[in-house]
């Protein structure tokens, strides 16, 4: 998927498939067939729109003879940064239930600031600590929202 044309063909095919999956899933929706608008009708329609539009996009791009600009994908280092960002987000969320919002915020922010900025270690730790403390004070202490607090803190 280096150029717009190849990306459109690939994404069009994927979307046509997604539309078919939606149509198939819509057939499994039960009940309400006596109604004016049965519950499966709209998912059907949406599935049909996605699969037809996806197929048309792929065909049109395949037949296109003209400018074919490259997609601005990141370089290797950029790709790694994007992947690390997603993985650290997933870890943040997975850890939040066990260690609580303030501590997971501290760990996530410290790591991300250090990883993205390559600062000396005290600076990311300070930003992380402030973020964790502010998240505790505002969301748990002041607004009394039901975020997980973790084993080391109380509400």
């Amino acid at each position: 998927m280096k150029t717009q044309k190849s990306a459109d063909i690939a994404s069009g095919c994927f979307l046509a498939f997604l539309g078919l999956v939606t149509i198939f899933a819509a057939t499994k929706i039960t009940g309400g067939l006596e109604e004016r608008l049965p519950p499966r009708t709209l998912p059907y329609v949406v599935g049909v729109i996605i699969s037809i539009s996806g197929a048309l996009l792929a065909i049109r791009s395949w037949r296109l003879r003209g400018e074919n600009p490259p997609i601005k994908w990141p370089d290797r280092a950029g790709t790694i940064r994007v992947i690390v960002t997603i993985v650290s987000l997933a870890l943040y969320l997975a850890l939040m239930d066990f260690i609580g919002l303030p501590l997971s915020t501290f760990l996530y922010v410290s790591f991300s600031v250090w990883y993205l900025g390559k600062y000396r270690i005290w600076y990311p730790l300070l930003i992380g600590f402030l973020s964790g403390a502010i998240s505790y004070v505002i969301f748990i202490y002041l607004l009394e929202l039901t975020f997980p607090v973790g084993p080391f803190l109380t509400r």
Binding site: Q4, K5, A7, D8, S11, L15, T22, A25, A26, I29, T30, G31, G32, E35, R36, L37, P39, L42, P43, V46, I49, I50, S53, G54, L56, L57, R60, L64, E67, N68, P69, I71, W73, P74, G78, T79, R81, V82, T85, L89, A90, Y92, L93, M96, L101, T105, Y108, V109, S112, V113, L116, G117, K118, I127, S131, S135, L143, L145, T146, F147
Partner: protein, 502 residues
């Protein structure tokens, strides 16, 4: 009549209460901050704060949300002028001449004229809102479910056809937005749809998770790709433009107000579209078009005026029809629904105190934004150059906390991360995001009005074309789609959506 001076005066009375003034001020501050900071736009800003405002009464909450939106229009110019980094897509034309002026040592007057033009256009736009919205709401009183369905359908098709050279991608984006909101229970019958037996999916996908993912998380993912370069900021001396500067810009301010306001009434005409149109018109009517791009002060006044007029105009269809014209408006619509307020003609009839207080607060908020942006511009400029490695993780944390506080379900945050990844690929592959956001927010209303229409007509879809107002909307929708397809078929260029305003 849905307009009276008494209502407006009562609205001012409510808006001038200490609590509402405070929330308008907080909204203006946050909005300016969001406008100043690249990487976060008004849609994600409002979406992040929406669940957290559940503790407030509807009037101060919506006053604050609206202030965030128009405040962001003021802030976007600061970094565009000083460091050539537009805070929002709508500030791109501002950077063309604003940054040139800054390089010539005239950053102060550029920032000053941006704030003054924003204020003039914003205020005139609110005058338009004050008189247009109730008049249109009066007209909309005759609407039944078929008219509402057709109107929303037309809104979606206009957003698709105006999303650049990507009509098929626009349709796909809208369909995926609809698909996401169809997951869960049928709004009328409660039947489970596309849940694959999952209890989490039974509760449905919350539109705030989708919006935060598409805008906030996806934007951060795009930003982490690049290593951040050092930013050189121009010095700001005197922010007050000379009288000659102001006189030179009066025409630009008024023209851009007209362009921004009337285009802003249409779905899909976001500030990022109208600012370019206003800039182009100003260049055409100027006696010195050769100065544009080299530091013409009208080149700053025109886009800044247009984006504020557009932001005010967006409230007209939102309040009178319940129709959002841009993603930020869709989030505001979600906010109104969260408080059990149904925008449309009945809002003016049943909740006049609320709607007029919000409109009145916008007059006050514009003055606040002017005050915040003229003397404090140096402070905003300093905030704007917070390095991304610090700013990015904080934006992500705010986004995730905002998403989690919708229903206190980790599932909502996973959805936001998933849509962040989807949004990242949509940006890379040139898919427009606005149709997906609008579809996600409008889908429940669209489906309900469709069901009600078919119930009334005993299952006949002819109801949409036999009722004259509905037929006009359907006709316009088909026309906009056909026009979009025609343009696309004639073009030999690949489908790529244009930059969008959040």
């Amino acid at each position: 009549m849905l307009f009276s001076w008494d209502y407006l005066l009562q609205g001012f009375g409510t808006a001038l209460s200490l609590q509402n003034l405070l929330y308008a001020f907080i909204g203006c501050m946050i909005g300016t901050l969001i406008g100043v900071l690249p990487g976060i736009g008004p849609s994600s800003g409002i979406a992040i704060l929406l669940p957290l405002t559940a503790v407030l009464a509807p009037t101060p909450a919506i006053i604050m949300m609206a202030a965030i939106y128009y405040g962001a229009m003021y802030g976007g110019s600061t970094t565009a002028i000083l460091v050539n980094i537009p805070g929002e897509a709508s500030s791109v034309p501002t950077a063309l001449d604003g940054y040139e002026m800054a390089k010539q040592g005239r950053a102060g007057p550029a920032l000053g004229i941006a704030a003054i033009s924003s204020f003039v256009a914003g205020t005139l736009g609110i005058v338009g809102l004050t008189f247009f919205a109730p008049a249109l709401a009066n007209f909309a009183l005759a609407f039944g479910p078929p008219e509402y369905f057709s109107l929303m359908f037309m809104g979606l098709t206009l957003v698709i056809s105006l999303s650049g050279r990507a009509i098929l991608k626009g349709i796909i984006s809208m369909a995926i937005g609809l698909l996401a909101s169809l997951i869960g229970q049928n709004p009328l019958t409660g039947a489970a749809r596309l849940t694959f037996g999952s209890t989490e999916l039974m509760a449905g996908i919350n539109f705030i998770s989708v919006i935060i993912g598409l805008f906030s998380i996806a934007e951060v993912m795009v930003d982490v790709e690049e290593k951040i370069k050092a930013i050189n900021m121009s010095k700001v001396r005197d922010v007050f433009p000379t009288w000659a500067d102001i006189k030179r810009c009066i025409g630009a301010m008024l023209r851009s107000t007209g362009i921004g306001f009337f285009m802003g009434l249409l779905p899909g005409c976001a500030p990022s579209v109208t600012t370019f149109v206003a800039y182009d018109v100003e260049k055409r009517v100027s006696k010195h078009p050769e100065q544009f791009g080299h530091g013409a002060i009208e080149g700053v006044a025109a886009p800044e005026g247009a984006n504020n007029a557009t932001s005010s105009a967006g409230f007209v269809p939102l309040f009178s029809f319940g129709l959002p014209t841009a993603p930020s408006m869709a989030v505001l619509l979600g906010g109104l629904m969260m408080y059990g307020l149904q925008p449309g003609p009945m809002l003016f009839k049943q909740n006049p105190q609320f709607v007029w207080a919000v409109i009145a607060s916008m007059y006050i908020g514009n003055v606040m934004c002017l005050v915040l942006n003229l003397p404090l511009v140096g402070m905003w400029a300093r905030i704007a150059i917070i390095p991304f490695p610090v700013l990015g993780p904080i934006i992500v944390i705010c986004s995730l906390i905002g998403t989690y506080s919708i229903r206190f379900l980790a599932f909502d945050v996973w959805v936001a991360i998933l849509f962040g990844i989807i949004g990242y690929f949509m940006r890379k592959l040139g898919y427009p995001i606005a149709p997906m956001v609008l579809a996600t927010v409008l889908a429940p209303m669209l489906e309900t009005s469709l069901q009600q229409s078919l119930l009334i007509s005993q299952g006949s879809p002819m109801t949409f074309i036999t009722r004259p107002i509905s037929a006009v909307f359907i006709g316009l929708a088909i026309l906009s789609l056909v026009r979009g397809f025609w343009k696309q078929m004639k073009s030999q260029a690949p489908e790529v959506a244009e930059e969008e305003e959040s």
